[in-house]
Amino acid sequence: MTVQDLSRRAFLTRTAALGCSAAASPWLTPVALASAPWDGRLIVIILRGGMDGIDALRPVGDPDFAGLRALEEPEIGDEAGFFALHPALAPLAPMWAAGHLSGVHAVSTPYRDRRSHFDGQDLLEAGTGFTPGAPRARDGWLNRLLQTVPGVAAETAFAVGQETLFLLSGAAPHASWAPEASVSLSPQAELLLGHLYAGDPLFAPAAAQALALSQEMEHTPSLAEMAEGETGMAMMAEMMEGRGGAAGGHLRLAEFVSGRMREETRIAAFSLNGWDTHNNQGRGLPRALTRLAEVLRALELGLGPVWGRTAVVAMTEFGRTVALNGTGGTDHGTGGAMFMAGGAVRGGRVHTRWPGLDAASLYDGRDLLPTADVRAYAAKVMEELFGLNRPVLQEAVFPGLEIGDLGPVLA
């Protein structure tokens, strides 16, 4: 459904409730029809705080791994048995087996040595400007991607969540919405607000869309309702367990993104926090990984028929130290892991040029050595999913990046 349809539906519902005639309603605001430039769907998840790639995607086949991390038995691995997913990601086993989930290891942005979340995240989202003191980009790489596509509509890309997402900031139009936002007004207040905004080119369209999106959030089938069939229901029951049947904030994100992407939206981005595991990560990391696993499964469920055309990319600002620190956690490091999920990806495998965990192979004597640029994999996904060519990716989207020969990442 387009935003126009939404506004109209919301408007009809309301006017019916108020018993007004359509002519008297102030809410008939024309909204531009979205036109999607591609059929593929891209979802970018920023894992804020620095995910520990060594623990999330464990190199169990590396002879030095066991000595660095004393850990319980992992459950799912790649074919060669070299990598294994953290047990908290076990719910993703079916996705892995279906070939809809892959890992990328020993990757990072070119950001080095300072290990600040603030700068690391800014640079990950800017996708350029890594030389210290280099000009700071004024837009994010997903926005620069949109800038290369003529006639892109605002609804093509959605920044989801309350915080300003630098990744999508820039000159190209995009929409944003926080699933937590809701406009709850009495019918009379809503009608009066419509009269106040009537004819105002700034306030009228924004309010119409806010009301439409807010009402759509109420009317969108919830994940629980989407969960058709036995497996779906079981999955939801398990995810809702211990939450009193209500979806957590992260599931609301997935729910909203799914709803939009089944319509005109082709690109969405949001953040998942909670990866900065300095203390006792045996307790903290499983929580963050559980949320990630739930989000991916909720997206699979919610995207339904378009899951097959979807690629989800989950990336983080940097990895963490290879060795545990004195408080059972890990400190800010360099190389790390990323995940790719979706029916469109070539899954069940880990893409990597593994550098090794022996002391001589580490970066700075402490961190996993990055052997590839995390941006190259993001670019590769866009190349295959949207048919973008290399000059666009290497000059406009990620200026200065060399994608190189990575082999196919999508199915």
Partner: protein, 463 residues
């Protein structure tokens, strides 16, 4: 009060107070600016120098924790650290409460608007734990006392402030041929501050400078640093031996000196391109996203002829016919929407300044984030966007609607009675209120809805 006066008051000030008092025209806005900062004195905010000792203490606790002999000792130190950090968070919340208190009660409202404008022009973001709570102390110390001085004074205070040196990575920079640089070849220059100084703070992005100027300026700035105690110092041992050439002029000799930096800042402050850049920014912020070129010319000319005397520059801005246009093209930014609402509703300053952390979180921090303006977290050194369409987005407007609907609860906490919406549109907002707003104030089902509609009206949100 005429429509024109009310527009001017919203455009350059903070609109009417509950009792209907607001500055009478251009003179009413400009005259108090020339006097003392009375509201700042009534509701003080600690300067950076006053709070820096807490940063020293925090570092001491971090070190002591690392070296703790026993787990008991470690635990005690951890609790002390938690306590200290909490105090800083409480102070940060009270700083915001104080910002709102000043806005609510001041008879000198253009000063508050100018402080926010210049704090945004010289944006800093706290990147580390302690600095995250220190932003307003920078504003209080470097920006506020200088908003009515010369631009050169303001520029020097902002650029040489420890917060700016930390934010734009200057504090770690080392001249490659300096005493320290020769011994540590891995350390070097950082061009970040030099670049933003030319691009954002003075000449502007299209300004007459090249990469070589950025590089030379970075060499000139090398040596600026921050003492562990939090003061700015110039460490000559890290300074690059000169001279350096910036925009065709040579600065410094062999031995690096702070005075060379003062000299280049003064020259940049009075540059023709700086005059145009600042004039345009003022016009965009206060008047229109695409301002009348005649307005920009007029303000830039005054900037040049007075060598950046800011009071004269503001006078040029306010007196120009284009700045008094009746069409209101700008939308209030979220902080301004909240501040002017509280002012209109008569929120008492003393209570605002003492708002507990919990209430600041609920009623101010979280709503600002929902309106897309997370407090003290602008997206980059270029500060917040200006365009009205950026702020009045579906999400941003949804945030404003939620906040407006929650106003009765906020007023209850402040001990203020909810006003009659009809009194608002017939009283303080009378010159601006259109027919639809007058009707809405009467026709709302409840007093709460009525007040929310008044705050949400284009008449109140545009300026």
């Amino acid at each position: 009060m005429s429509y024109e006066t009310a527009v001017l008051s919203a455009r350059f000030g903070l609109g009417p107070r509950a009792d209907g008092s607001e500055p009478a025209g251009a003179e009413g806005l400009l005259t108090p600016l020339a006097g003392p900062d009375a509201i700042g004195a009534r509701y003080p905010i600690a300067g950076y120098a006053d709070i820096a000792p807490a940063a020293v203490e925090l570092r001491r606790l971090n070190r002591a924790r690392r070296d703790a002999a026993s787990s008991d000792e470690e635990k005690t130190l951890r609790q002390e650290r938690t306590q200290l950090l909490r105090q800083q968070r409480v102070r940060r919340a009270q700083d915001l409460g104080t910002v709102l208190a000043r806005a609510s009660e001041t008879a000198d409202p253009m000063r508050e608007r100018l402080v926010r404008f210049w704090a945004d022009h010289f944006t800093v973001v706290g990147k580390q734990t302690f600095l995250r709570t220190a932003v307003q102390s920078y504003v209080e110390e470097a920006i506020r006392p200088n908003v009515t001085a010369r631009f050169a004074d303001l520029l020097r205070a902002a650029i040489l402030h420890p917060m700016m040196l930390a934010y734009l990575d200057q504090a770690r920079a080392v001249g490659p041929n300096s005493e320290v640089g020769r011994r540590n070849p891995k350390r070097g220059l950082n061009e970040n501050l030099a670049r933003e100084l030319l691009e954002l703070h003075t000449l502007g992005v299209g300004g007459p400078y090249a990469q070589a100027d950025v590089r030379q300026l970075a060499e000139l700035l090398a040596g600026l640093s921050v003492r562990p105690s939090g003061e700015m110092i110039f460490a000559a041992r890290r300074g690059e031996p000169g001279p350096e050439t910036v925009l065709g002029r040579r600065y410094g000799r062999r031995a690096p000196k702070l005075e060379d930096i003062h000299e280049v800042l003064d020259d940049l402050a009075r540059h023709e391109a700086t005059a145009r850049h600042i004039a345009r920014k003022l016009a965009v912020h206060f008047v229109a996203d695409t301002p009348d070129p005649a307005l920009v010319d007029h303000v830039a000319a005054r900037f040049s002829s007075t060598e950046g005397d800011l009071l004269a520059v503001y006078t040029a801005l306010v007196e120009h016919p284009a700045a008094q246009a009746s069409e209101r093209q700008k939308a209030k930014m979220p902080w301004e929407f909240i501040a002017t609402s509280l002012r209109l509703l008569g929120a008492p300053g003393r209570k605002l300044a003492e708002t507990p952390l919990r209430d600041v979180r609920r009623h101010i921090y979280a709503p600002l984030t929902e309106m897309s303006q997370e407090w003290e977290r602008p997206p980059g050194p270029d500060g917040w966007p200006e365009e009205a369409a950026h702020w009045i987005s579906p999400q941003g407007l949804a945030g404003r609607i939620s906040w407006a609907m929650g106003v009765p609860q906020i007023l209850m906490g402040l001990g203020v009675a909810l006003p009659d919406p009809r009194a608002l549109v017939e009283g303080p907002l009378a010159p601006l209120a259109g027919d639809a707003l007058r009707f809405a104030a009467r026709a709302a089902e409840t007093r709460e809805d009525g007040v929310a509609l008044v705050l949400l009206s284009p008449e109140f949100q545009r300026r």
